[in-house]
């Protein structure tokens, strides 16, 4: 038989018992909608978490710390570790690492005429800035090996104040110092120029510095930092310590390193490799992973509840098909006597079941899209109840229920598959029916 004829006959049979077909489809519709809506809630939660994570920082950045947490059956222990140039070089060799840079912090003071500003200096290798996602809003990024150059976070430009009047900034107006054009000096003595400064303290050196640029806001601590070349920072720290007679600092180890990974999917692998070097790591991915594991459990439970109703619907399909074969025993027998191939008879019934599954899947999907829309539009309170209803940074509410294209396609595909599986036993039964028995029954 031709494929189009099989479909045509299956459709005719399907339309023959309208009420029964409708009820069977309704079962599949409810089952599909239950699964899709449940899963869409899980996906909504998952996307919400990811958006939250993105607000906190990049998922492809790993922090490497100078301690190592050793896990043992009797509880963990924190061991010190060293991050030196050799370690940095080794990390840069790991597959998937885009860039790695040591990191160093130091608080300092900026001076511009009568104004001063407290500054958190952030030493980094300038070549890593671009890879870490920093974009200049004004000016440019730093060049490698560039000394006496500053790169301001957007918040750090607002910190200038007059220590004599204790007036902070210039509320409502332009900041008193334009870091791009005004004369700037830098000192590591953070009590410099303050009334509370220790008069016996040896004077620290003032470095004449210039500004390379101001960064675009990134909504984290970097907005309040002033970036410098880490080599430069190491140099002035050494000079300051010598001037204060306190030079004993271990300058071969950095406080921290930042690793940028090429792709989100490689983060896990890179994390494992760095941990294997007995270094401590922190990544938003760690938090996300824990959350995702929990979410997976929630999704499994939600999906399971939905799947239960789809299972009931599948039994409904089988039942309908078995009934319809009882009714059509004679017809099936006649078809056999007239020379219909057994496999064609099976196909006829399989397709009929498939059509039930497919229709139920499509209607169920439409119902789910409607339910999803209503949930997102009016379901605010419910969102809070189940952990969704998160707000994006710009204040719009993130959807509670998300139906991605793959879920929509999978829902229809799976419903059809359920139909086919449910129809398999009845179809085989129809195929094996004795033609003689079938035409004999009067």
């Amino acid at each position: 038989m031709k494929f189009t004829d099989i479909i045509g006959l299956a459709l005719k049979n399907f339309l023959r018992r309208k009420v029964r077909s409708f009820l069977t489809i309704l079962g599949v519709t409810i089952g599909t909608a239950a699964v899709v809506v449940m899963l869409s809630l899980g996906i909504g939660m998952s996307e919400g978490f990811e958006k939250q994570m993105e607000m906190m920082g990049s998922l492809t950045t790993i922090e490497v710390n100078r301690y190592y947490y050793e896990e043992s059956p009797r509880g963990g222990r924190t061991e010190p570790a060293t991050i030196d140039d050799k370690v940095i070089e080794a990390i840069s060799q790991i597959k998937g690492v885009k860039v790695v840079t040591p990191v160093m912090w130091r608080s300092a003071k900026l001076v511009s005429g009568k104004y001063m500003a407290w500054a958190q200096l952030y030493g980094i290798r300038p070549e890593a800035l671009e890879a870490l996602g920093y974009v200049p809003a004004e000016g440019r990024l730093l060049n490698p090996g560039e000394h006496d150059m500053l790169l301001f976070g957007v918040g750090a430009t607002q910190n200038f104040y007059n220590p004599k009047t204790s007036r902070w900034g210039n509320p409502g107006g332009r900041p008193p110092v334009n870091v791009m054009t005004d004369r700037l000096e830098l000192t590591l003595d953070d009590s410099y120029g303050e009334s509370w400064a220790d008069p016996n303290k040896k004077p620290a050196k003032l470095y004449r510095v210039r500004t390379a640029g101001i960064l675009e806001p990134v909504n984290d601590q970097m907005d309040w930092c002033v970036v410098v070349d880490i080599g430069y920072l190491q140099k002035i720290v050494r000079e300051y310590d010598i001037s204060q007679g306190t030079f004993s600092r271990d300058t071969t180890s950095y406080e921290q390193a930042l690793v940028k990974v090429e792709d989100v999917h490689q983060v896990d692998y890179v994390l494992q490799e760095i941990k294997a070097m007995k270094l401590g790591t922190f990544s938003l991915q760690d938090i996300l992973k824990g959350m995702k594991e929990q979410l997976f459990m929630i999704q499994a439970v939600l999906g399971g509840i939905g799947a239960m109703s789809l299972l009931v619907a599948a039994l409904g399909i089988t039942n309908t098909m078995v009934m319809s074969i009882y009714e059509r025993t004679r017809e099936i027998g006649v078809m056999k006597v007239l020379g219909c191939l057994l496999t064609d008879i099976r196909k006829l019934f399989l397709w009929e079941a498939g059509i039930i599954g497919f229709s139920g899947g499509v209607i169920g999907l439409l119902l789910s899209l409607l339910a999803s829309y209503l949930l997102n539009r009016f379901g605010g309170d419910l969102g809070g109840l189940i952990g969704g209803g998160i707000y994006a940074p710009d204040g719009t509410r993130l959807p509670i229920s998300v139906i991605p294209v793959w879920l929509a396609a999978a829902a229809v595909g799976f419903a059809t598959f359920v139909g086919l599986v449910s129809g398999f036993y009845p179809a085989n039964r129809a195929m094996k029916l004795s033609a003689l028995e079938a035409i004999r029954n009067e």
Partner: protein, 235 residues
């Protein structure tokens, strides 16, 4: 030398009902010529229907062989049998056995659908077959909208549509009144003759058997009498 389209050799069929053996057919040997109208007559339970079922390959014999066009059909697989029926056999039933959801035209085209013939081609053939049985004006009717005689005409059209060399008919007039019976019998006789088909008909009614070229009386699984009535072959 007669051209035998059906050769039955030593055919035996035994049913096991509980622990008892029931002999439905007992060593039947019979040849049926191509183009012949052959009637199997017998009372209920004589084994005539069993014989027909075995000729159509619906039942496997316990012993013996049935050759149609030289092919032993009891040795065929289900798939081969289906193909064989598509090409060689038309079937007319007592209770018409039309598919209620399909129109007369679609019912008639059924055997061609199973062969995978494209719609246009098979509908043209079905239309022609329906015209031949005098139902040119009922093509779009469903079985429930037609009388018994009309339904059986559709059944005949269905058996003719693929021009099979052999047509089997099992009590084709069993559900019809005497006037309609006569019409249907005349239609079957004339169309099978015009198309050169071999017709094997099972009945318990001797008046119907009188249409046949040869009447084979069956009783208790044995051929008890063969009456030649060769008006058709003589022509």
């Amino acid at each position: 030398m007669p051209n035998n389209i059906i050769e039955i050799r030593n055919l035996r069929k035994v049913y096991h009902v509980g622990s008892e053996k029931v002999v439905a057919l007992n060593h039947i040997t019979l040849d049926i010529e191509a183009g012949e109208f052959c009637c199997l007559v017998g009372t209920s339970g004589s084994g005539k229907s069993t014989l027909l079922n075995m000729l159509a390959g619906l039942e496997k014999p316990s012993l013996g062989t049935v050759r149609i066009k030289g092919q032993a059909i009891e040795k065929m697989s289900e798939k081969q049998l289906a193909r064989f029926r598509q090409e060689n056999i038309g079937f007319i039933f007592q209770s018409y056995n039309l598919i209620p959801t399909l129109t007369a035209l679609e019912n008639t085209a059924m055997p061609l659908i199973f062969r995978g013939m494209p719609r246009k081609q098979r509908e043209a053939l079905a239309r022609e077959a329906l015209q031949r049985v005098g139902l040119a004006n009922h093509m779009a009717h469903r079985p429930t909208q037609m009388s018994g005689g009309q339904q059986q005409r559709v059944g005949i059209a269905r058996a003719l549509v693929s021009r099979p060399p052999i047509v089997f008919a099992d009590e084709p007039t069993g559900n019809l009144d005497s006037k309609t019976t006569r019409e249907v019998m005349e239609l079957m006789t004339s169309t099978t003759r015009d198309l050169g088909q071999t017709l094997v008909l099972v009945t318990h009614d001797l008046s119907i058997a009188s249409y046949a070229d040869r009447i084979i009386h069956i009783s208790d699984g044995n051929i008890v009498k063969i009456v030649n009535n060769r008006k058709r072959l003589a022509k």
